[in-house]
């Protein structure tokens, strides 16, 4: 039993580049779809030139950023600036079950590959477009990245300490989880409907609208007049909700009490038994009223604790706690390793690299995850041109020489 082959036989012609779109088709590829990534040397995917690179492995095939988002896909090098390439691209999409892109509106249309044109050719196609702000409206042509989309959507302003500048989420978060995730939900639903009815459709994922959904409850409150500002790690309903320094350099532990009983257990576990009975902290309301003082007392009590020892002690008492995990912590984490979450891929240009599995699995089984490392640029051009497009060697040689298959 496995989900590795769920989309076996599904062909995806993938014009996505950079972050959010590539993660959509990555998940389809890991579950058996034949994802043909259309890219070119003429204008490479931005991620192919983005760090990190293993020292000495720099170049279009060496980016760890690109490799982390494109495993299990085939790379078809097609230079859309060559006049012959449009015809080749049309033939490719004519035989596709799914066509994907995350360009700004108008790019695919300029190539004659917009939804209306592709549907003419391939009426049952499921077509995913992920423009930053949607394909209509006064800002339809605006450009951005995850970081700027998070700012636009309210996430940056609300993340940080109240008396400091906003800090946001630390990464281009909308690109990595919500935008690909939301797009996948709609795409998977449309693929299923196509299987049942033979009818395709266009899906549009505005990355701005996707991100605004992440502040949905807060937006509702604001529309009702509430003033919602950044509060660091504090949240309504929990107290404490904080991160405390532990022994060692830059070592921290996140600790939360969701109710009064958890608070009393927390106080007892860190040797502050008397505080558990202190009326200043007895209820959520009282703890909220004295939160600075509460956190100060806990910080003093926790500062000489080792973070994992503290975590285990608190969890044994039913108190939510976990060390704040850095990259080396995560790669070494005994829980993730016991679950078989990390896989090792052997990339032809990079060498061995660790890749995460999908974040879900059949109960009792190992996770579905990457099998083949990301392709070298154009690694499957000849194979796709021959087996998918039916071109012979002479035709392929000519198109390569003319830098159409490039």
């Amino acid at each position: 039993m496995s989900l590795n082959g769920t989309f076996s036989g599904l062909r995806v012609v993938d014009f996505c580049w950079v972050g959010a779109g590539a993660l959509v088709t990555k998940l389809l590829a890991e579950h058996g779809a034949d994802v043909i990534k259309v890219e070119s040397r003429e204008r490479p995917d931005n991620l192919r030139v983005s760090p990190p690179f293993r020292p000495g492995r720099e170049g279009l095939d060496g980016s760890g950023y690109f490799a982390s988002r494109n495993n299990d896909k085939r790379s078809f090098a097609l230079n859309m600036r060559n006049p012959k390439s449009r015809g080749i691209a049309l033939r490719l999409v004519a035989g596709a079950d799914v066509v994907t892109n995350n360009f700004r509106p108008g790019v695919m249309e300029r190539w004659g590959l917009g939804y209306d044109e592709v549907r003419e050719l391939n009426p049952s196609v499921v077509y995913l477009a992920m423009p930053m702000q949607g394909s209509s409206g006064p800002h339809r042509d605006y450009i951005g990245f995850g970081q700027t989309i998070a700012a636009l959507g309210g996430l940056v302003e609300l993340s940080g300490l109240p008396d400091r500048a906003p800090v946001g989420t630390g990464t281009q978060y909308p690109d990595h989880v919500p935008s690909p995730g939301h797009a996948l939900v709609a795409l998977l639903a449309a693929i299923r409907q196509r299987r049942a009815t033979g009818r395709g459709r266009l899906i549009e994922l505005s990355q701005f609208e996707s991100t605004v959904n992440l502040v949905g409850p807060a937006l509702l409150a604001a529309s009702l007049g509430a003033s919602i500002t950044r509060t660091g790690n504090r949240v309504p309903g929990h107290s404490p909700s904080a991160v405390f320094r532990c022994t060692g350099e830059d070592n921290w532990c996140a600790v939360v009490a969701r109710d009064d009983a958890e608070w009393r257990s927390l106080a007892r576990t860190v040797g502050l038994d008397a505080l558990g009975a202190d009326p200043r902290f007895a209820t959520l309301e009282q703890r909220k009223a004295h939160e600075d003082e509460l956190e100060g007392l806990l910080a003093a009590a926790i500062g000489d604790r080792e973070r994992w020892e503290l975590t285990r002690a608190l969890q044994a008492e039913g108190v939510p706690a976990w060390p704040v995990m850095s990259s080396p912590d995560l790669l070494a984490d005994e829980h993730l390793r016991a679950r078989g979450f990390w896989r090792t891929l052997n990339h032809p240009a990079i060498g061995e690299m660790t890749a995460p599995s999908a974040p879900f699995r059949i109960v009792g089984e190992g996770p579905t995850g990457p099998v083949e490392a990301a392709p070298l640029l154009g690694a499957h051009t000849r194979e796709v041109a021959s087996s998918v497009l039916g071109l012979d060697d002479a035709q392929i040689d000519e198109l390569v020489a003319e830098k159409a298959l490039w």
Binding site: L3, N46, P51, R54, G64, Y65, G87, L90, A94, E109, L121, P123, G134, H139, T148, A151, L152, G154, E157, L158, S159, G160, A165, T169, G170, Y173, H176, P178, V185, A189, R199, R201, E204, S210, V212, N213, V215, P217, L219, A222, S223, L224, G225, S227, N233, A242, V243, A254, Q315, P320, W322, M325, S327, L331, H335, L336, A338, P356, F360, Q395
Partner: protein, 396 residues
Amino acid sequence: MSALPPLDPLDADAPLRGVEVLELAGEYSGYAGKLLSDLGAAVTRVSVTSETIVEPARPLDGASIDPAPLFLHRGKRDLLLNLELEHDRSELDRLVGVSDIVLQSAGADASSGQIGADEIRALNASAIHVILTPFGLDGPAAGYVSADLVRQAAGGLLWLGGYPDTEPIAAFGDQSTLATGIFGAVAALIALAERDRSGEAHAVEVSSQEVLTQALETSLAEYEFTGRVQRRIGDVPREAGSGVFACKDGYVSMVAGRLGTAEAWKRLRTWLVEEQIPEAESLWDEGWDELAFRRNPEAVARFTSIFEDFASRHGKQELYLEAQRRSIALAPVNSLDDVLGDVQLAARDSIVEVRDPATDASGRVPGAPFRISPLGPEPDAIALSDAAETAATPPR
């Protein structure tokens, strides 16, 4: 391509029309159920009265309204069952029996005693059972309890957030809960596709910790390739041209010079020179075209000083419009009020009005995060167009 209207879950052609979903109320299942409901699934949300239901923490200080029903549960059928009553227990069993998908929050955080995996399997062997958990169902920490802050710590997102001189600071708004809900819906639909293909219906688990490891960008590869550990850098830009910068009425976020935006970095410097900002000319000196140079803390500080000198004279909306006109990826750091007033969202009807029946108060929430076109033509109506025939000819 004509503009797509907001999604209508009641559309007879909605992609998940006919799919029955049972959402057992819990911490993560609400957003998963919402997304499936947005796409036309019939979602019945069952709360059980004989136990405590753990719902997400609510960022609602000062609000008079519970956001869950209006944001998460719009369009769902809501049931309150007491499983100690035989009638109610039978109703839950019946609902399991007719469901294609059962969404359940589990792990040590979940309210216990709802209904077990074996019972669901016995009642309906063809149901997809999606179990949403903080840390998965096995492994040494499977029994650990959590809250959003703890999950962000466990998944690594918290490590990257905040200021270098303080503790790490979490992303706002219960992100781990929403993200787990998103991938709960993804897992449900992949399992449904597998059932369509093979006839096998699986129980599938989702780990919130594993969901969040997807958000770590390049930090894992950077450590593995170079030994460098990425850390929180706070409100200091990571490099000249990219980061959050102060302006006259707040902040703007900008990406110019990285991720293939070398042209935008040139356009940005041209803009500063045109505005006659002191020392802007020096940004054209040797070295500034190199990313490694722009990542030097001295270069970051120098650029920030020059840019913020300029930005301090302009509001964030003004900078947004002009930067975009110049094809520079700059956006305002919006407050929630700014989001509610955004002209793009307004033009696309992206924010919808909702009314609370209990208080009659009306508020606004985001519409569905995706849009879909009407269905394509029936397969029988498909005929090869001239374009298709042309495209079928190998290019020469």
